[in-house]
């Protein structure tokens, strides 16, 4: 450690143990986090109250109490951070809290419209899932004190990821919801989307694998035009991931998930190797596959039709047509610049307004202003993750941090872009906002990992030149 040896050579005074000194330091980052958290919890509570005033015309204490559940959990997580990751990024937790809380408020708003209460209502379940997810995040923080532990489990993570992905295909276990076979369930209850968890395992695997093998992936190969293309034998991994994505499209009928994993892999591959040729190769592979799928698979073809010609009356009325997409657009249009106000729109007209279409519901009631704020929150969250990549010292941590953040960014893009017709609509959950337990658990684990990584980045000794 050259940095410390520089300044301690001539002093005779006994050096104070660094740990003791730190205890007396005010935890600036954690205090900032607490301040932001209180604001986020305040906004969350206010949105639930506004929903009640807008939709019911009165304040009902039941969900205010449930809403407080989220606040208690995140404050608990904050306290844990004070002990186990005191240098962690102070923005990540408040942003996740705010998005999660806004989601609960909107889901609650749709429950009110559909007159659902108690355990059958999505908002209560979402609150319980949030508590569970934050519990998982706390556990991750407590168990994984050093992210490099994960490097050791690279291949196990890869195996787990693939297994989770394929789990819904197991007869008797898999469930099909609105055409996509991406759920597992026991009996008629407790459905779970293992693919959401798989994205973390795969990110760990990609990071570990690429750090180990990037030399062979980046250094050798033939130069063609201005790019160095990989050797045939090095194409193995990309072909495997491509095949996996294609099988998701074909067997699980889930375009969005396939795009998410493949996109994640490509970006991490590019980061690790610095070779644009990999990206071009991967993109042409995926586009080629998607093109073939759109010609041969009815559901993919339908998605493209809906995307390109949504307002066409024939497409609109067709079975599996653009009805939902267009209703979402109507909702967004209704919201306009400032929205109808919470509880005062009609998001329940759009099918699945609390999950896939929660962004349209929020856009209707909070307007373009609200959507911009939400997108800014996501962008900020992703940017904090990317900071780990910029500031980090170990390549595994950098790759993992960026990969996990990118997966959030890409997921937002696929869902929101689908709703607003940037790309064809595919079923994915909007991180933190949408109703769905597996998605919450996965995203909160990502939050925990990002916090852990950011703490390590700040704690690591630096070279002073």
């Amino acid at each position: 450690m050259p940095a410390s040896s520089n300044r301690s050579t001539t002093t005779d005074a006994p050096a104070r143990p660094p740990r003791v000194r730190r205890l007396h330091l005010p935890q600036k980052l954690r205090n900032l986090e607490l301040f932001l958290l209180l604001i986020a919890c305040g906004i969350n509570a206010a949105s639930v109250v506004l929903v009640q005033l807008g939709a019911l015309g009165r304040i009902d204490t039941t969900l205010v109490l449930l809403g407080a559940g989220l606040s208690v959990m995140v404050l608990g997580m904050h306290v844990v951070l004070r002990f186990v990751a005191r240098e962690a990024d102070p923005f990540i937790l408040p942003i996740a809290t705010l998005l999660n809380g806004l989601g609960i408020a909107m889901i609650y708003r749709i429950d009110l419209a559909n007159q659902e209460t108690g355990l059958s209502s999505a908002s209560v379940r979402q609150t319980i899932w949030s508590a569970l997810a934050i519990g998982c995040a706390i556990a991750v923080l407590l168990i994984i004190r050093n992210h490099r532990v994960l490097f050791r489990y690279t291949y196990i993570a890869g195996f787990v990821g693939v297994a989770l992905l394929l789990l819904p295909l197991v007869p008797g276990l898999g469930r099909e919801v609105s055409g996509a076979r991406v759920w597992i369930g026991i009996g008629s209850f407790a459905t779970f989307q293992p693919g959401e968890i798989a994205k973390i395992a795969l990110a760990v695997f990609f990071a570990g694998y690429l750090v180990r093998n990037r030399d062979s992936l980046s250094m050798v190969g033939k130069k063609f035009l201005w790019m160095r293309f990989p050797r045939l034998r090095d194409l193995g991994p990309i072909l495997v991931v491509w095949a996996l994505s294609m099988s998701v499209i074909i067997f699980q009928r889930d375009l969005g998930t396939a795009l998410l994993y493949f996109g994640l892999f490509l970006v991490m591959l590019y980061l690790a190797t610095g070779r644009l040729s990999w990206v071009l190769l991967g993109m042409s592979l995926f586009l080629g596959g998607a093109l073939v799928a759109s010609q041969t698979l009815d559901y993919v073809n339908g998605r493209f039709q809906n995307w390109l010609d949504a307002l066409n009356p024939d497409v609109y009325t067709a079975d599996g047509g653009s009805y939902q997409l267009v209703q979402g657009l109507f909702g967004l249009a209704k919201g306009g610049l400032v929205g109808t106000g919470l509880g005062q729109g009609r998001p329940e007209i759009t099918p699945v307004p609390q999950s896939d279409y929660i962004i349209a519901s929020l856009g209707e009631e909070l307007g373009l202003a609200g959507i911009f704020a939400i997108l800014a929150l996501y962008l900020l969250l992703v940017a904090r993750g990317f900071r780990i990549g910029f500031a980090g010292n170990d390549d595994f941590g950098k790759l993992l941090g960026v990969g996990l953040s990118f997966v959030i960014a890409l997921q937002c893009f696929i869902v929101i872009g689908g709703v607003t017709r940037v790309i064809p609509l595919t079923g994915l959950t909007t991180p933190f906002l949408a109703a769905g337990g597996s998605s919450l658990v996965a995203n909160w684990i990502i939050v925990a990992l990002l916090l852990r990584l950011s703490d390590t980045v700040r704690n690591q000794p630096r070279l002073v030149v």
């Binding site: 109507f330 306009g336 607003t420």
Partner: protein, 483 residues
């Protein structure tokens, strides 16, 4: 790795810029066209779920929005629906509104430009927006009297205030109940609407402003106005008085309604011709005036133009191209001359108001929910159609017509009624259209009235204006003068 990371950051930024752009396009630039899409049920629910303002007659609501316990939040109800249907129209669950509901839709729904700040205020304070109330000029006594007097006949009664143009009564029969079309059940509304549409008596047509009929003899008022205003004729100008008259350049002949000559003698005056409602002298007068002069006067009264009260009134027609025979026929309101009841009410009102035609108007004022006035409809002069002298001369002739002429059934003891009847031929075997138009009291006209009876009043070609239309006018005038 940081160089690559920067590039990936740019990609992420671009993805979010794309999302910002796409949401902006949908929520701002496409918002209007998406809201206007017929499949957008949100727009429909919205039009129901704001508290639409009431339509008032003499302070009492004839249309109002009552709280409803369903997704539409409010139920539009019409009190005395069939009576006021031509005034209110209706705002259906799944189609376009009609009547005042249509003409003042933005005010009633609170979306007019004048209500912009109220709307913003409601948005900020969280109050639910409310529409403005619309006060109609209708006099409930006149409206009810007209409804009763018309009985089961097909037609219309229009009563206006000559000095202001305010419409005091506007009845159309057969009518319908607008409440049938505002129930919160799509299918039921569609069924009711289809039934009304298929009804052969056409109840959905407002016969006061949207039914065009040949005016027949009531159009003679326009021709005589043109004659007197030309300066070439006086009421004492004389015309040959044959019992039959061959139209120029045609083999058709014209007869007077009685069959013989117009009174005794070889010649007849305009005064007598109008009082007895003879066709032959008017045909001769028309030919001497020429169609251009008649058309010019007719257009001063409002023929050949579109106007709204603010309900859109169908355009009454004096044809633009006429040969001599047609000009002669047009002089007693036949050939292709067509008029609405509202148009004939304007003719009478102009004569009653000393020659000045006031723009007919159905709305007094529009008032915001906080009782501040949004719009007050002041009486507006449309045009001076004739000199005061001509108006006085015509009034005297019309009084004579009621006193002991062709419009005698409109006579009221103790009140001078000025009036003119009409019995217009439609196609050869079709029932006549019967008219009365006039005003009272003649010296100080308070009410101008026009009665239109379609379908021969059920008597085919045997009924005539004085038999069926004049008594209706008399009954309404008695009701409003004695109130």
């Amino acid at each position: 790795m940081n160089r690559e990371l920067k590039r990936v950051s740019m990609v992420v930024l671009l993805m979010f810029v794309a999302l910002l752009a796409s949401t902006t396009i949908v929520q701002v630039f496409q918002a209007d066209s998406l809201s206007a899409d017929a499949r957008n049920t949100r727009t429909l629910y919205d039009s129901y779920s704001i508290e639409r303002g009431p339509i008032l007659v003499a302070g009492e609501p004839i249309a109002q929005s009552m709280p409803a316990d369903d997704e539409y939040k409010f139920q539009r109800t019409y009190s005395n629906g069939p009576l006021y249907a031509p005034v209110t129209g209706f705002i259906p669950l799944n189609g376009a509104p009609t009547g005042l509901e249509h003409a003042l839709n933005s005010e009633l729904s609170g979306t007019s430009d004048a209500q912009f700040f109220d709307k913003m205020n409601a948005l900020i304070t969280g109050q639910s927006p409310k529409g403005a109330s619309v006060e109609a000029t209708i006099d409930p006594v006149a409206q009810q009297a007209a409804w009763d007097a018309l009985g089961d006949l097909t037609g219309s009664v229009v009563v206006t205030e000559p000095a202001t143009g305010r419409v005091l009564a506007m009845v159309s029969k057969p009518s319908y109940d607008p409440n049938l079309l505002t129930v919160h059940d799509d299918q039921q509304v569609t069924d009711s609407y289809q039934a009304l549409l298929n009804d052969e008596s056409d109840p959905l047509i407002d016969r006061s402003i949207n039914a065009l009929n040949p005016p027949g003899s009531v159009f003679k008022l326009v021709v005589v106005t043109a004659a007197l205003e030309s300066g070439k004729f006086t009421p004492e100008s004389t015309f040959p008085n044959p019992a039959t008259y061959q139209l120029p350049g045609s083999s058709s002949i014209v007869i007077n309604s009685g069959g013989g000559t117009c009174g005794g003698g070889d010649t007849v005056t305009i005064a007598t011709a109008l009082k007895q409602s003879c066709n032959i002298p008017l045909a001769e007068l028309g030919l001497q005036l020429g169609d251009d002069a008649i058309r010019a006067t007719a257009e001063k009264f409002g023929f050949n133009s579109d106007y709204s009260i603010p309900l859109d009134v169908s355009q009454s027609v004096y044809p633009t191209v006429l040969d001599d025979a047609q000009t002669a026929l047009s002089a007693f309101g036949q050939t292709d001359v067509r008029a609405t009841a509202m148009q004939m009410a304007m003719v009478s009102a102009a004569i009653a108001n000393g020659g000045v035609l006031m723009a007919p108007n159905l709305v007094d004022k529009v008032t915001a929910p906080d009782l501040s006035p949004i719009q007050v409809f002041e009486p507006q002069t449309r045009e001076r159609v004739m000199s005061a002298e001509t108006a006085a001369t015509l009034t005297q002739m019309m009084v004579n017509g009621v006193q002991d002429g062709a419009a005698s059934n409109a006579r009221i003891d103790g009140v001078d009624v000025a009036g003119k009847t009409g019995t217009a031929e439609n196609a050869e075997d079709e029932p006549y259209t019967l008219w009365f138009t006039g005003f009272a009291p003649a010296a100080d006209p308070k009410y101008a009235i026009t009665v239109l009876v379609e379908d021969g009043g059920g008597m085919g070609q045997t009924g005539y204006g004085n038999l069926l239309a004049a008594p209706i006018a008399k009954q309404v005038l008695e009701a409003v003068l004695n109130k």
